[in-house]
């Protein structure tokens, strides 16, 4: 059951990812990205990470995608170029081939190295409780504070960059 659901959601996420890469209209790409993020959140739930899944939907689908949509509307971008294979520049064709080769190589490597089902996890695994405990138990404290400084800096930077008289 879980395997079938995981296969279903993953296939949907990958299909949405293909749409993101190939669509000419940035708006359609953004919508496909939302779908992809939602299906990935479903995968997270199946991997016993419900809190990460909730944050994925809140932060990514909720906040980041709205930001993308606002920028699309603000700039009034029209569809310009998609991924049309006949019109690829040589540089782009090389990039396409190289990344596909890299992807297949890493897939092959992972298939050789990894096998077996997951071990049993406790019912509390992945809960907000467990996340909070891990986050504050000392090893991640510095990183947590650094992220808060980073977010503040990014916020102030975005406001400064967005000023009219810059």
């Amino acid at each position: 059951m879980e395997v079938a659901l995981f296969a279903l959601f993953s296939a949907a996420a990958l299909a949405a990812g293909v749409v993101v890469v190939t669509r000419t209209n940035p708006f359609s790409a953004a919508m496909a990205l939302v779908a992809c993020l939602f299906f990935l959140a479903a995968d997270f739930v199946l991997l016993q990470a419900p809190f990460v899944a909730a944050l994925q939907i809140l932060v990514y689908a909720g906040a980041i995608l709205i930001l993308f949509l606002f920028v699309i509307m603000l700039l009034n971008l029209r569809g310009d170029e998609g991924l049309s294979l006949p019109r690829l520049a040589p540089r782009q064709a090389v990039g396409l081939v190289l990344s596909v080769v890299m992807g297949s190589a890493s897939v092959a490597f992972a298939s050789l190295q990894v096998s077996g089902p997951f071990p049993e996890a406790g019912p509390l695994f992945g809960s907000a409780d467990a996340i909070g405990t891990t986050l504050l138990d000392g090893r991640f404290l510095l990183a947590l504070e650094a992220v808060s400084v980073l977010l503040t800096t990014a916020l102030v930077g975005a406001v400064v960059l967005g000023r009219k008289d810059l």
Partner: protein, 102 residues
Amino acid sequence: MSSIGLLPVLLVSLVLFTLGVVGVLVRRNLLVVFMCLELMLNAVNLAFVGFARARVDMDGQVAALFVMAVAAAEVAVGLALLILLFRTRRTTHLDDLRLLGG
């Protein structure tokens, strides 16, 4: 009782990451390049969560949360730069942006 196993998770993650790389390398619209960056970050998140599940260790999920926070910061600054760029150059096409500075 979960029997998915690490391999399918890693495979999905790798294929999604490759999709993102293809998008970043091939697409020339800066906004879509940003979206493909998000795809890559999410593929990494999936791998993190999968490894956390395989090792029954919460560290991977916490790492995924950090990736999300950094991605939020990146998008905020990146889109602000994009708007600034569009205001001064009237384009978001990467091939039109050749001059560094000025």
